[in-house]
Symmetry: C2
Subunit: 211 residues, 2 copies
């Protein structure tokens, strides 16, 4: 049998990260004390420090684990090799589901990322950029016309806005579920794509006219 940490170590560690994410989501990172984290986990503070190096490590690991899961989700959908619109629609449905299943972690990522150190934040943001790029590529496959390229990133971010903001107003016990909203978001987005035209100023600044 391998020497090292006890059988329950990783389980306890996961439970602590989940509890910390819940507290950070409710009270913010700086508004949550390590005493509160320890109390919520039912362990003493020294015991808490047995599982995590310090408070920053809690934040880093919550953010990185969440972004890693989102990147794996992107890879899983890409492996399906769906046609363009079905591909983007599948990304939307899966992300809404993933966010609903990890609301605390998602809130921490969107609100407390700024408390990471420069190096850590850059690493997390790199993962986020990969996810955004995957959505932008999926959108590019749906609308490949060249003059639309300037809007791939902005429209992707509007799409993320709809999805991210859902978790501030959709109550888990309310009449509408996240699963109900995913197709609404997709229909609104695909329907709207037909109507959007590239603003002149945007096209000019992204593709400056040669003098």
């Amino acid at each position: 049998m391998a020497r090292g940490r006890s059988a329950g170590y990783d389980d306890q560690r996961e439970a602590i990260l989940a509890q910390a994410a819940a507290l950070f989501a409710q009270q913010g990172y700086t508004g949550t004390s390590m005493n509160a984290v320890a109390a919520a986990c039912g362990v003493s503070k020294p015991a808490l420090y047995h599982y995590v190096r310090d408070k920053q490590a809690l934040l880093v690991q919550i953010c990185e684990a969440h972004v890693d899961r989102l990147q794996q989700l992107v890879a899983a959908v890409e492996a399906q090799a769906l046609p363009p619109e079905a591909h983007l629609r599948e990304l939307i449905v899966r992300f809404v589901k993933a966010y609903a299943a990890a609301q605390n972690e998602h809130r921490v990522l969107t609100e407390d990322e700024k408390f990471l150190s420069d190096a850590e934040r850059e690493r997390v943001r790199e993962g986020e950029r990969r996810v955004v790029s995957a959505f932008a590529r999926a959108l590019a496959a749906v609308r490949p016309d060249e003059d639309f390229a300037a809007l791939h990133k902005p429209l992707t971010m509007l799409l993320f806005g709809m999805i991210n903001w859902m978790f501030t107003w959709l109550k888990p016990d309310g009449p509408i579920s996240h699963a109900d909203m995913a197709p609404v978001v997709a229909d609104l987005f695909f329907g709207g794509l037909q109507a959007v035209r590239v603003p002149t100023a945007t096209a000019e600044s992204v593709f400056p006219t040669t003098p």
Copy 2:
């Protein structure tokens, strides 16, 4: 001449609220000390407490002033008595403009509202509900068909999601301005409205079938 506060009192007070909003937006409410606020304002801590009762009062006044401005914006647009689509489009353009002009205050409202006391938070949320209701009414005028009523609030929140999220990714010095994005948001939303259908589950739960 009236006795009481000196001529510059209100100006200084406004400057303090603006500085506090900037610090809260950057570091969060709980991550910002009153020492930091005083230093940023170039006053001593006791001087700071001459203008604000306590730290909570800073937060309340930033949030209430911002929500009040948004409600005044709604009233100004309603006074124009525009036709349905033009009305909603005008709300979108004006709100994007208002958010761009008060990015710090808007970020504080969306991220630090949870640190208000119960009574204060309820008052601020009441103002937010009025604003959301105004958008939902404007949307109802655009799509008055009865079976669409269940989606007025959800679609309004998706719209707010696009607008609110813009300020996390649109950099003030970037190639695209907020003014550029407002018509894109409006076109996407109005175009998407034609494509959205009411999910069966939603219609049932909002209008339960009589047994």
